[in-house]
């Protein structure tokens, strides 16, 4: 049996109870060709240093837990492979633009707040006008939705909330209140869903400097998105809507 190759993984460590600032720690990790960076970190935790903290769950790039900076680029560690960095070292750091809670785990609350603020659910026509919507009766039939109408929003519903785009976006780093690529993409997903009538409810945020106008179209978010969702496109399409809104043209042009 061939000896496994070795690679150095450098991790940015930070402990809120004891550290005033982060520091780097290097580990020597044996690896096989099919091992991901996540598996490398798991090896470190299991055998070398159990205190290293990182989030992970599904191991197949669908839960969005394991986002981190790997050699300065935001990646999902479960689908990034050590063989591609050989001979290394591999520098692993918590996602940028968000505060470090501990080691490789960031504070996600900014995103969760932004998610809440974009009204992330179907606002049905009658609900959008009534102030206190009653609990609707159990619906009898699914709405009819042609593949073409689904295509208007489907791509944007694929977001796994991995926050790589937040690490990529410099505006997220500069503006604490900017809703951010994923939240605005989800907003676009709902606005484009034929079952939804919630543009009015979402427009105040959308049209603000923390909404679509917080974006300067750097476009790096779309480069790093592991699901190819193109958040830059989702956000910037809405600048036209927003401008129409501002000039009152939207109401004028709205087809009832």
């Amino acid at each position: 049996m061939t000896q496994p190759r070795m690679i150095q993984i450098e991790c940015l460590r930070y402990h809120p109870e004891t550290d005033s600032e982060p520091h780097w720690q290097t580990f020597d990790v044996p690896f096989t060709d099919d091992m991901s960076v996540l598996q490398g970190l798991q090896h470190i935790k299991d055998t070398l240093d159990g205190s290293i903290t990182f989030r992970w769950s599904c191991r197949m790039a669908i839960c969005g837990s394991c986002g981190m900076m790997i050699n300065g680029v935001p990646h999902l560690s479960c689908e990034t492979f050590l063989r591609d960095f050989y001979p290394g070292p591999v520098r692993v750091e918590a996602l940028e633009n968000m505060p470090i809670q501990r080691d490789l785990a960031v504070d996600q609350s900014r995103f969760l707040k932004a998610l809440q603020s974009i009204t992330p659910y179907i606002v049905a026509t009658q609900e959008s006008t009534s102030p206190t919507p009653a609990v609707p009766a159990a619906p009898a039939l699914a709405t009819n939705q042609s593949p073409a109408r689904m295509a208007a929003y489907y791509q944007y519903s694929q977001c796994i909330n991995c926050l790589l785009c937040y690490a990529a976006c410099p505006q997220v780093g500069l503006n604490e209140n900017f809703a951010g690529p994923a939240a605005l993409t989800l907003m676009h997903r709902y606005n484009n869903d034929p079952r939804d009538a919630g543009w009015a409810v979402r427009s105040e945020l959308a049209n603000s400097n923390d909404g679509v106008w917080g974006c300067t179209l750097v476009g790096y978010c779309s480069e790093v998105c592991p699901k190819g969702i193109d958040p830059a496109h989702a956000v910037n399409q809405n600048k036209i809507h927003s401008a129409f809104d501002y000039t009152g043209l939207k109401t004028l042009l709205e087809k009832k």
Binding site: Y14, P16, E17, D19, E21, P22, G72, E96, N97, P99, I100, Q101, D107, P147, A148, A151, A168, P170, G173, L174, T216, L217, V218, G219, Y220, E223, D230, A232, H233, N236, Q237, K239, I240
Partner: protein, 134 residues
Amino acid sequence: MSVLKTYRRPNNVWWWRKAAYRSFVLRELSAFFIFAYALVLLQGLYYMTRGEKDYEQWRIALSHPASLTFHAVVLIFVVIHSVTWFQVAPKTMPTLRWHGVPVPQARITLAGLTLACVGNVAVLLIAAFWGGWQ
């Protein structure tokens, strides 16, 4: 709830660290050069109103080496500005579909750039011929 101190990493000089950010800054900076050239054109318009002699003097001043260098730099940035404008354009419009299939953004960019090139060449040719007749 006890709040533990999270660590915020410093955010200075972000714009030079990644290729994507450098491209972005270059694109945005190009606007200044467009503006600068607009000022030069405005200046030319002004001298045109002052009569042929003044206009001729201004035109000769433009062939000063410093001015030529400036114009070369401006040309580079105008090209950057135009190319990036067409790269960004498909992201600002809803997805174009051709018989239900989304048109790739690169194709929209290419179409735009082609039209721009054709337009520019047409203008240059017209100007050359018209100038030739004068």
